[in-house]
Symmetry: D2
Subunit: 386 residues, 4 copies
């Protein structure tokens, strides 16, 4: 393998938040180069954004359709390998479909699509296409989240009984003037965000993390969503009771109106042998608790970690890694999958440990069902496997 | 006032946990002296327990009935002023009734009684009796809990939107042999504990704390209780969705099978102006969070606290106070109420800030309704005011 | 043993800080009763203070001389067993001497005396007297400090290399008007405090803690003391380099002008097998660190602790104990020593684990030598064993 | 400006630690591209390392002399703009000199050189050359370190009195077999590391951080260095008393044998109005303490921060940034300085806030003088300005 993996981007022009994050994540390891983009629905803005990223003008496209068509015509030695989708939710599916139709791999921001139907259609398109699909559930990229899952898989916790996951934010505590805050505007607009704001934007991260670490699936839920700020069309807060089959129970709470909270995702999982506690704002620590001996403080970068955790660390203990490194782990793993495919090899287990279309389907099913459940007077609602 | 307040105790003999806690709490400030007791249903054990506490043999009674009768016959200069009830739940009401009938004030461990009917009857007995009733919801005795409530009452948080309260413990994670652990045995026996173990023992503390600090009342709830350990007759875990009228929502989770957790009661309350966060295991700190300025770390013993918080501190900042001091605050306030009554004065506001029969009624209503709700397929259940 | 131990107190009248702390500590376990006192150099104030403590007027003495004489004349069934000295430093020795001359045990606040000569004389008086002397180096009373020492004694840390101890406070950051703050006034007055304020008041605690936990003795030191606030006669800040023979080195820093700090005593000890970290403001946690496995979080009240630590806990894990409980441990152990002597028995190891005259001598030697060292241009100064 | 800044690297081949860190830091923002390197003193290894980084074979040089000469001959549109030096200490100066002689800017790992003479000579070479020199004192790149300095400069702390800085590591707690751990081997070899291991590797970071945040200069010091592990030629531990003119005092402790510590750099600065506390292992938090009001928790990414702190944040609050982001800030600022020079403009204040040759001189003076002081029986040693 003697070349970098080539990335095109849709969305993420001037003033966008998550596009810049995707680019830094892709840059970090020097394995991926940005070669083209359709950064904005405004062609001028797209060109300007591309120029600021040192792209050749001819590869700063006016829209994603143009980009897919033009890149497909470039020689294999030049054209992009995959497209990163960093737009509001309602555009995820059309862009992903266009990419797949032209034979490009897809790295998509979450949630996968606008609704459950779209993601099921997307899964159908991917089947048999030979194309890769990555979904940026960032938090699964943290080394200590991977360690947590490794501990569960190794049976260290015993049988899991209870899962508590919470994701409080405060940034939507006050009414937003939609002209001022682009981030808020589309997330609160049903035509762009889908049926939920809070659960669609962050609740789904909490849900994904719970299923990822616990290696269990939520089978039933009971929900109470609410919108605390006047005239909002979508929920800005919610709590959900969870059942994981007959085995485990749990609670999920997420909010955008927990004033003063930044991004305080935390998960605790209690087994019958040990328990774990991880908090995103101090991501380099994982606490493992026991009933009859002292709790242990596992730290990122330490030699005693499991191989999968160490493979996702870049620095020795005490040199804190953060959100961008976790994000970069997703990109590095995705690039490794593409490299393996280009080399006609099987990607290693570390590279395959990346959220994909199945996590996308689970997430969309969760979002839809939690809204149904909240609107219902019945207590429990099934969360089927699709 | 030239004498100490005199306390009798029912329960709390050799090997008991909470009885010793009550005695240390009563001792701390040198305002209360233990003068008599019926420490055990086994008369020999009761005598032996009393002797170890330096009591005169003639005031170590065989049972509470004997104690109430005998003490009532003593001259006013000698007889106890109040009885502390530190037995399992099922004895709270009969003992309290016997005390009231003989004209003694009552300081009772929580929950107030075995069921809602009993506590309503108890309230009726107290009405017009002129007797005082204190209920040891210990956590309301912490200075920083009082500060939290003071901040809410002063409007610092604005309108409250969300209340998250959690109380994970792990000590019942494994099956208990009832002959070995007295504490576990009665708490899991419906005839002694009532309709719930987890919610009756600790969930009710979390509920009380939420209502105390928020100054709101829970009006509706939806619950999912469970017993994770085989052959248990009562719940050892549960999560509850809460509504506080139209204004606020919340979630309460409590567990005795969160393996590795000690006694990790925590409450977060989010308003539309500020939010607060308090955790019992580090009780001398209260965090107040804002959206547009740094969070503030309020510390027990600091001059900037509200008068009610300072009145419940015994040491300057940095000299940590804990569970026994919080407990002692309840006893000190109760003693102050009795002193005021003896002096025909009105007790000060600080002394009156003590859980009583109304909190007892709320607690029993919560316990009963949360069990009803858990067993129901309907989502929401009212929590009426009695 | 069928009676409580009887305590007299010198100092600690209205408005005093540490006297009230001693009384609460003595009260907590119901083993000690306050029977008399000379609470103030102002006889009226002494009477008033005693009355507020429910003492009989005839046992509220005008001064300590009167108290010693009068108590000595009381029958053995009534007179105090020991005297608690809670005055400023310059009175410690004369009061202790008077008590010893009348045959009373002594529990003294620290530092033991005004200077090294006095404490050596005090030691001589105690020798062969059969009387007990306790010194309230409070911080050695914490369960997790005892656990720390137990781990060192058991060899868990291996050979100790480095000791870092720090004690920052901020309460003397601004000039005190001596008429306003009694606590500050005498601590900054050489005739009452001795040769040092910062090192005499808190540095000596840090020094004692370092020697207690490490089980090593400081043999050489190099010091830099300073007074940051104008016109102060004594130091309010200092840092000290330490050598523990050839084996270990360390640093001690203490300050009364670390603005914003409350009482943040912390000690870290590094061995060649493991290390420990304890912080007084969160006293129920002890961290044990390893190089090749996760750090362990030891918690007060846990079954896995060493017997000496558990013997100094009153509540199960998660029910925080604090400063007053640590202080009460000193009193409980002292009372146990007296009880054993009264019963002609040998006190148990737990009871004997209490700072006494030897710690007093070490402390006074440290205070004097650290001041000498600070004033010297030579680097190293011996700290001899006396 | 329509191109990326071009970087060459000396050192950092396969198996090196800090070279990979420099590359990730340079990659993150997509402003810098690696174009050439002499990655190892072994030419084959250098080629192999370059190939793994996707470099053209002709720009993977055999040694730094060849690289400087060859790059200087390339057209301005291709040749590197600056060289990153990531070798052991003894090579820093010869490489920097060679770069300067060929007109390349220099980004050097710390400490600047092997000894004080070299760095003074380096400063002379830079003077008048028009070339830029950056020094990777990484910790100054953290947003909350910049916020700390901004608070000091704005007078928020008042007059600074005390500086406590500590840097405990444990990774050299055991004897290293020099063939096994390359990182340890050269750091403990006087011919490659210079006169100190602990102070030269990490003590100098602590010193730099103290001067950077406090905006004061150390003028005198007293030191006690030691080597705890047998047969080490250089110190692995040390404590230093500091004086900052007449105004402030302090203490610095650094160690490589604090077993169990990762990289726990912490600084506390106490003024007469407020104080600050920052810890590298949780770098997104800065605590500001006051005497008469609650401490404030400042958090990276928050709108209320000073402009210089915000300019060094990449993500909103609660999305933790770490060591690589801090490092990347140094590179971004350095690239901005180069861009400004290329455009014949003055770099902005944010870009100029980067350690350079003056910090290099201070650091080398500190390292040399602390070793002199440790070997002396005199207490105080001057730290002159060069």
């Amino acid at each position: 393998m003697t070349r970098k993996i080539r990335m095109g981007m849709v969305g993420g022009g001037e003033g966008a938040f998550i596009g810049a994050v995707h680019r830094m994540a892709a840059n970090l390891d020097g394995q991926i180069e940005l070669v083209c983009g359709a950064f904005s629905s405004d062609p001028e803005r797209s060109k300007r954004s591309g120029a600021a990223l040192y792209l050749a003008p001819e590869r700063c496209y006016e829209d994603y359709q143009q980009m897919m068509a033009a890149e497909a015509l470039l020689p294999a030695t030049e054209r992009m390998d995959f497209v990163a989708i960093v737009t509001p939710n309602h555009m995820h599916f059309p862009i992903a479909r266009a990419a797949i139709e032209q034979g490009f791999h897809v790295m998509s921001d979450k949630p996968a699509t606008l609704d459950l139907n779209e993601v099921l259609e997307l899964r159908a398109l991917l089947e048999g296409s030979g194309l890769l699909f990555g979904l940026t559930h960032t938090y699964t990229g943290y080394p200590m989240v991977k360690e947590a899952r490794a501990q569960v898989l190794a049976g260290e916790l015993g049988s899991i009984r209870k899962v508590l996951v919470e994701y409080p934010q405060g940034w939507l505590s006050e009414p937003q003037d939609s002209t001022e805050n682009k981030q808020a505007a589309w997330r609160l607009d049903p035509s762009k965000a889908g049926v939920s704001s809070c659960m669609g934007d962050i609740g789904v991260h909490a849900f994904n993390l719970a299923e990822y670490i616990s290696n269990l699936q939520v089978t039933e839920l009971c929900a109470d969503l609410h919108s605390f700020v006047d005239r909002r069309l979508l929920d800005d807060d919610g709590s959900v009771l969870l059942r994981f089959g007959e085995q485990a129970r749990g609670a999920l709470t997420a909010s955008q109106v927990c004033l003063g909270e930044e991004n305080d995702l935390r998960i605790r999982i209690y087994g019958d042998k040990a328990s774990l506690d991880w908090r995103q704002q101090e991501p380099n620590t994982l606490l493992i608790k026991y009933q009859d001996k002292p709790a242990q403080v596992l730290r990122a970068g330490s030699d005693y970690l499991s191989p999968v955790a160490l493979a996702n660390c870049r620095t020795p203990g005490g040199h804190p890694e953060g959100y961008l490194e976790a994000f970069a782990n997703l990109y590095r793993n995705f690039a490794s999958q593409i490299k393996a495919q280009l080399a006609d090899e099987t990607a290693c287990a570390v590279a395959l440990d990346l959220p994909g279309i199945n996590e996308g389907v689970r997430g969309m099913a969760f979002i839809e069902q939690v809204v149904v459940a909240s609107n219902s007077q019945e207590k429990w609602h099934q969360l089927p496997s699709y």
